[in-house]
C-alpha cells in the first residue's frame, strides 16, 4: 500500500513593530534583560487595558494582501482563555470568528532537496491560505530544576498566525512553502522571519492516507522546530515513522510530537487531549475595526512585487537562469539594486545588460560585501551606486577596459565610492585597443617565442593561451583581449 502525506502548516510570525500589539512597550525583546520592557498592560496587572497598535494592523494587512487574501472590512477581537504562567491575563487577545485576512494563496517553486545539489528544475505548487489573524505573543518561560522563571518582555509582541489548507504534499513542499513565506515577510519588511530567534514559528499538522484516497488520516502535530531544515527533516522522519506503523497494521496515535534536533527523532510531547475549550467571546475592551477602501488602498501601495513574480519576470524578460533569478531575488534589497543597475544601464541589448549585471552582482559585489561583513540585505549601503556599476559595465561593453581591469576598478569603487570613469582616467587604465599598436606587440611576442609559435602551428591549441598572456603582459594588462585574440590568430596563420 502506498501512502501520501497531507500537511497543513500553522505559522506564527512576529511582526517587527517598534512597540507591542496592545501597549507602547518596546517590542524588541531579543537579548534584553528579563522584565525590562513591561508595563501594566503586558503584565496583565489589575485595571490595565489594551490599545491597538495601528502599524501592527497594517503589517498584517500587507501580509494578507501579499498572500492574495481577502481582507476583512469589519473585524473584531476575541479573548481566548487558557491557563499558563506566560499568559499574564489568563486569556490571549486574538481573532477567531473574523480573521483579518482569509482565502488566499501562495505559489511556491518546489525543488528536490534530497541530493543536496541545486536543481534548476522545479514544480510550481499553489498552497492555499485559509486565514491570517493577529494576536499577542506570550511571555517566556525558562525551566531550571524544579522552578520556572517567567520573563514578560515578549508578552504582548504582535503575532500574525497564518494557517494553510492541508495542501502540502511532501517535506520538500513544506520547506519550499516556509522558505517562500519567510522571504515574503522579509520582502515586506514586516518581520525578520528569523526562526532561530523565534520570529517565525512553524507547526506542521500532518497525516498519512492511502494514495489517491479522499479522507484524512490521524493528525499529528509537530513542535519545537527551530529552522527550515528541521521542519523538512522532522516531516520526513514522521512520514517514515507513520508509514512503518501503518505497514505493520498499527494505528497512528493522535499526539503532539516534539522534534529532538540532536537525535534526529520526534518524541511524544503530549497526548492530544480533548480539544481545549477556549471560551472565545468578543473582547469588550476593544471596539471593532473597520477597514475602508482608502486605508486598504494606502496599504496595498506599500506591497512591492514579490520574489516569485520577479523571478518569473527576470527569466522571461532577461533570459536569466532559474539559479540566477533565485539568487538575485533572495533579498528584496538585492533585487531592487539589480533592477536599478539595469534601469541605469546605457541603451542596448536588455538581456545582455541584465546578464552582465547578474554576473557582476553574484561575483564581485557579493564577494566584496562578504569580505567586508556587509549582509546582503544592506546592499544599498555599499559605496558604489547601482548607476555606477551600470557605467562600469558600459565601459567594458565599449571595450574601454577589459574585464580584469574592470574588477580592479570595482574594488576601488567599493573602497572609495569614486565613479568608474574617474578611476580609469586617474589611473590610466583604459585598455589598449589601438590595432596598430597591438599588431606591433603581437609581432614582437611572436618573434620572441619561436618554439611556442612552432608548437601552435603544429596543432597545440593550448599554447595560444600562453602567447595571449605574453601579449597581455607586454601591454601591462591593458590590452583589449578580443583584439589581441584576433590579431594573434591572424599573425599565427602559417
Amino acid at each position: 500500500m502506498e501512502y501520501e502525506v497531507v500537511i497543513g502548516m500553522e505559522t506564527h510570525v512576529e511582526l517587527d513593530t517598534h512597540s507591542k500589539m496592545f501597549c507602547a512597550c518596546s517590542a524588541r525583546f531579543f537579548g534584553a534583560e528579563p522584565n525590562v520592557n513591561v508595563c501594566p498592560v503586558c503584565l496583565g496587572m489589575p485595571g490595565a487595558l489594551p490599545v491597538i497598535n495601528r502599524r501592527a494592523v497594517e503589517f498584517a494587512m500587507m501580509v494578507g494582501l501579499a498572500l492574495n487574501c481577502q481582507i476583512a472590512r469589519h473585524t473584531f477581537w476575541e479573548r481566548k482563555s487558557y491557563w499558563y504562567p506566560d499568559l499574564p491575563k489568563g486569556y490571549q487577545i486574538s481573532q477567531y470568528q473574523r480573521p483579518l485576512a482569509y482565502d488566499g494563496w501562495l505559489d511556491v517553486d518546489v525543488r528536490d532537496l534530497s541530493t543536496g545539489n541545486w536543481s534548476e528544475e522545479s514544480v510550481r505548487r499553489r498552497i492555499r491560505i485559509r486565514r491570517a489573524h493577529l494576536e499577542e505573543d506570550t511571555g517566556k518561560l525558562t525551566h531550571v530544576g524544579d522552578k520556572s522563571y517567567v520573563d514578560y518582555n515578549r508578552s504582548g509582541v504582535p503575532l500574525l498566525e497564518i494557517v494553510t489548507e492541508p495542501d502540502i504534499r511532501s517535506a520538500d513542499e513544506a520547506y519550499a512553502y516556509l522558505s517562500a513565506l519567510q522571504q515574503l515577510v522579509r520582502y515586506l519588511g514586516v518581520s525578520t522571519g528569523d526562526m532561530e530567534k523565534g520570529a517565525m514559528r512553524c507547526e506542521p499538522n500532518m497525516s498519512l492516507r492511502p494514495k489517491g484516497s479522499a479522507g484524512f488520516g490521524v493528525k499529528v502535530e509537530i513542535k519545537n522546530l527551530n529552522s527550515l531544515r528541521a521542519v523538512r527533516d522532522a516531516i520526513a522522519y514522521e512520514i517514515r515513522r507513520q508509514t512503518a506503523l501503518l505497514e505493520r497494521g498499527e494505528a497512528v496515535q493522535q499526539v503532539t510530537m516534539g522534534w529532538d534536533e540532536s537525535r534526529g527523532v520526534t518524541v511524544v510531547q503530549r497526548e492530544k487531549e480533548s480539544a481545549h475549550d477556549y471560551r472565545y467571546f468578543p473582547e469588550p475592551d476593544l471596539p471593532p475595526l473597520e477597514i475602508d477602501d482608502a486605508w486598504l488602498e494606502d496599504v496595498r501601495r506599500r506591497v512591492p512585487e514579490l520574489a516569485l513574480a520577479r523571478q518569473d519576470r527576470y527569466r522571461r524578460d532577461f533570459g536569466l537562469s532559474a539559479y540566477d533569478a533565485v539568487q538575485l531575488t533572495s533579498d528584496r534589497a538585492i533585487a531592487d539594486w539589480f533592477e536599478q543597475v539595469i534601469a541605469a544601464a546605457p541603451a542596448g541589448d536588455l538581456r545582455a545588460r541584465a546578464k552582465a549585471a547578474a554576473n557582476w552582482i553574484q561575483t564581485e559585489v557579493f564577494r566584496l560585501m562578504k569580505a567586508n561583513a556587509i549582509p546582503n540585505a544592506e546592499i544599498a549601503s555599499i559605496k558604489p551606486q547601482p548607476q555606477q556599476l551600470a557605467e562600469l559595465i558600459g565601459l567594458v561593453e565599449q571595450q574601454v577596459i577589459n574585464l580584469n581591469t574592470a574588477r580592479q576598478v570595482f574594488e576601488e569603487m567599493f573602497a572609495t565610492g569614486a565613479a568608474p570613469r574617474a578611476i580609469v582616467e586617474a589611473k590610466g587604465l583604459a585598455q589598449v585597443s589601438d590595432v596598430d599598436a597591438l599588431r606591433q606587440v603581437v609581432a614582437e611576442v611572436i618573434a620572441a617565442h619561436p618554439s611556442q609559435v612552432q608548437q601552435y602551428r603544429s596543432g597545440q591549441e593550448k599554447v595560444f593561451g600562453f602567447l595571449v598572456g605574453q601579449v597581455m603582459k607586454a601591454t601591462k594588462g591593458k590590452g583589449n583581449a578580443q583584439v589581441i585574440n584576433r590579431l594573434l590568430r591572424e599573425a599565427l596563420k602559417p
Binding site: 525590562v36 494592523v57 471596539p287
Partner: protein, 97 residues
Amino acid sequence: MLTVAEVERIAWLARLALSESEKARYASQLSAILDYAAQLAELDVEDIPPTASVLAVHSVMREGDEIVAGLPRADALRNAPDTDGVSFVVQATFDDE
C-alpha cells in the same frame, strides 16, 4: 439542575479548588440562577443583533508605534509572590500549550 460533576468540570475550567460542601452548595445555587436566566430562552431574538458595544465607536488605535517607557523592573516585581529580583518564579511546568 447542575450536577456535582458539572460543577467540578466548571471549577476545573476556572481553576477553582472547591470543597465537597462548596460543590454541593454551588450546584444548587448555580442551578437556581441558570433557571432564572432560562426566561431568555423563551424570547424570539432571531433577527436581533447582539450588542457588540453600547458605544458607536470603532477603529480606536494608537497611531504612531512609538515606544513609551513602562514600569521599571522593580515595580513590575514589587508584588510578586516569588522572585529572584529579575524574573517571576513559579513551580516548573511540563506542559507546553
